[in-house]
Subunit: 327 residues, 4 copies
């Protein structure tokens, strides 16, 4: 059966709620707007097994920051979003001055929309080696110990990312992992306009790359906060949306009691799925949709996220405008 | 109205012929298969104004080499295709031992499917500077003078590619331009499996980038042979194909004389177009579909094309297996 | 004979003045310090044929901004230098609101210390295509028309850079060229700590790449302002400096009237040259010295320069802190 | 004191033997030439604690393949060297059909001469994920399970490479590691003309990056074969060589019994060291010398090494010329 894949809790909740017609049990939702309503923050908290079962996402907090200005290169919005990201990130993580944070850039640096994670990592302020080898250089500074890696995807390494990460965790014992990933969204307008922060880590099947195992506290042994941004939509969704829209339009022009209406109402899931597969042939599950200027988009959003991370972890960065020259 | 864009003469011809039900006037077509039918070569020659008008492509030769093995990493097929490409390219170009060839890598190196041209250029054997500054080094070798440039796209340079190229031509007077471009195909299965060689150059609106002016003998002053490979499909085509398939399926289940059948038959072009635009919102015309492993695909096909060009231009490369270490 | 190559007018002047023991005729020099003496600005103006002959540089203005903080990642210094660069650049260029500026990134993007020019270009705000194709988008903004190209070096293109640039100029008629180049310095401590702005363009033999022709008003037809930063030192200078230091030390320990002193004093230039060539074998003229963390250095200094250029050209950028998200 | 650093056992042996005037105890040396004497293979076997102490390298086998043709782009020599590398590598490694090999690309991909390891990794045939997830695809093929990683350097990750590698080993249990690294040589003419294979792994202080811990069976738990190619020379060696040459020349012109000769003979090590440090200021230990066309050199030699590795591990590649299209 055709099942819409989305990595955004926000979208899962939309889909489910639309079906239910009311708020979902075991799920708390909180929304606010900032900066002249140009930025919308939605917090979805799944706080019960029930909510977990309904939304098909693990219990935990999912914060989404949405702003069209992220796509439209509104510099002021970008600046604000990086500050909000820093604040929300701080609210989720629980690190002391002595903590070590491991930042993980997931995804394939050779495929533009999937290069978000590695791009962010290249812009994050790395300090762990200073704490280890030249502690005198950092002892009076308001920065924390940060290390990072962009391990590459399964096709490049032949190793599952979760194995690489848990191996490294086993050696260096970070207190927290922040993992950045390019996501697949259910809606085109969310490409590069939504940033999701989740304290549940990366669950299996997230991201463009669809790793088999997740990167969560269970698999790697330390808390994992995931930051994700939709960068692509599965091409199958385009086909599915076209089918939906056409059916809706035909139904609008048809008498509700006619056999035609019945036909339009009753297309079996399997038929729909086969139809989509035929459109997507020979690439089912491996074909994605992305905007032409995805290079510019990744460049911009990776700066916003790296800024947010740097501010959330290092008080010194938060207080100092000149840190723009980091990286 | 929704119009299917394709850069392949092969596909335009298919579409038109399907409509006509017979061969097109003013167009000669020749097909052959090689290497146990694993490689298909189609030559479309538009030899009259009439053919030009019908196919909406300028008069000239369009040679397409098709092989699924190009996508499936069949090394033997890749090797054969590079040889056939070399031979077909030689048949189209007319260069003496003293000629200078300018190879142009079109497209955006920061967007994976659009990086084909620059990738090919980076693997082509460059020799013009030797002929200019150290002629004694090349005088007894069976190589020709080759130079190359990957100018970047409008969004990166702010200059139309045709202006950059014609400026350079004005200064260095090459005898021939070979321009490599990633194309938009009409069919997913042609992504990376078809190589088109055309002696008509790059016409406006070709390629992923949609430059406004073409790169042809008219615009740059010297003959231009274009080598193109489909790397993406416009996302609108996915929506359109889904609509077509659904309508066809509904018609199959409907009595030809029923009002429903009439309705399905008579969807106005404008409605269809609006429907597609709604699916693709907010990205109409700027959204493409590409396979997940596009990085590996570009890497492979760029080697095949660069090999073909090196063999076609330099007899020394054609005769010498060890030239694999070029680049 | 061994001749010390330097692209900095500042260094040529130092060398000549040290020989002369007094200020050079036909050359005006002005120095100032800023930001707690952390930044030093030196203006060398060659205003006569005589000065030109003595300094072996064309008549014109050479402004050098020096700050150790550029190497030491002092973010506040970087911020200040970008502002000073913007001001000094504005003082040299003469552009109206309607002018078009072509920014040229010289050097080889595949060789880290030589990639400065292309890196800067990738961070400059490009707008010419907006003025050409969507003028309504820019008509009320305080920005100017800017285009850019990083043509690549002779070994990559087979074409001299000056030919590519003058070809493009011939087509698009910019009012001004700003060319950025990685320079060879005479002193290690100047690597990445000095930025030279010269309104004389790029003269032959400048930069790491040693193009044969320059990029000047004479060769390309429009005014050229060059921005250069030392990124390497010729390895021969290391050998030469070691010889100098050893000779000096030996002389210090020797009686001025002894035959030994005579010997030390009288090493023929040719012998010294041969000695250096022997040390550098088999790479004379093609071997450079560069710091290990040159990647970080290029990344930082390219941001400072791109910021300075963006501020100098676009009033809107100068007035708006959020433009940090430009890239 | 100034101590010449070299990563080549060949060079250490040369230095020591020159001092001793005879063969070194506990060290076996075997030399042969191939391909019309264009390729020289030297095997240095340190087989005792004594040899270990004298050469300051751990006991084991060091095979060096030298050929000027590697630098001079002699395609036939490159082809031959890749075959010899494959054979010599096979002689050192001991893997069964069921073994898993982890290839590690050491070094910094952002610094051209240090990018050799990551470049090689990008050209190695990766198969472990096929064995894990689609075993039916590989069961009848003559290939082995290979995975790979390029972890990045300390300044990029904040983590010592040996920790990353041993963490991964702990999870995936490879039978063998092949680690590729750019080396520092003692002699300019060895840059890119010598390939060393050592079954002792990467010892601390090797390579351009000077990691503190090595990557050896002791530190990571599985056998490590290191493949290294000199890509740089420490700039201090250039200064030291210039001093040596000048002193020698002065001595040649001086009477052996004169006080001058005494002076030249007796320069204290510390003085020499200070002199070198003065020349190299402010970069002692962090400044290297590399040829201008290092990008081309790295591209070529990385193909030779990746070919050698692919042939040594996968019988299928060894037997099949078309495998050139791998990567």
């Amino acid at each position: 059966m055709f099942k819409i894949q989305t990595d955004l809790a926000l979208e899962t909740r939309e889909l489910v709620q639309k079906g239910l017609g009311r708020e979902i049990e075991g799920v708390e939702v909180e929304e606010r707007k900032e900066f002249d309503d140009k930025i919308k923050i939605t917090k979805v908290k799944i706080n019960s097994i029930k909510g977990e079962a309904i939304l098909q996402k693990p219990m935990g907090n999912y914060i989404t920051i949405e702003a069209d200005g992220l796509r439209d290169e509104d510099f002021e919005v970008q600046e604000q979003v990086s500050k909000i990201l820093a604040d929300e990130l701080e609210s989720l993580i629980n690190v002391s001055q002595k903590s070590t944070v491991l930042v993980v850039g997931l995804g394939n640096w050779n495929v533009t929309p999937d290069s978000l994670g590695p791009k962010v990592v290249s812009k994050v302020l790395i300090t762990r080696h200073l704490f280890e080898f030249v502690p005198e250089k950092v002892k009076d500074r308001r920065i924390r110990s940060v290390c990072a890696i962009s391990p590459g995807v399964l096709g490049i390494t032949g190793i599952e990312t979760s194995e690489i990460i848990s191996g490294i965790v086993h050696r260096i014992h970070p207190d927290l992992i922040i993992a950045i990933d390019a996501l697949a969204s259910r809606r085109l307008e969310r490409i590069s306009t939504a940033i999701q922060i989740a304290d549940t880590g990366i669950v299996p099947g997230s991201g463009i790359g669809n790793e088999r195992k997740g990167i969560t506290k269970d698999t790697v042994g330390v808390p994992v906060v995931a930051i994700g941004v939709p960068m692509v939509v599965d091409a199958a969704i385009i086909a599915n949306d076209a089918i939906d829209l056409l059916l809706e339009r035909l139904k609008n022009e048809t008498d509700r009691s006619s056999p035609l209406y019945m036909l339009l109402e009753s297309i079996p899931d399997e038929d729909r799925f086969n139809l989509i597969k035929e459109v997507i042939f020979p690439y089912y599950g491996n074909l994605f949709v992305t905007p032409k200027d995805i290079d510019r988009i990744v460049e911009n959003i990776s700066t916003v996220i790296a800024d947010g991370i740097n501010k959330a972890i290092h008080p010194e960065v938060k207080e100092n405008e000149e840190y723009r020259y980091v990286n």
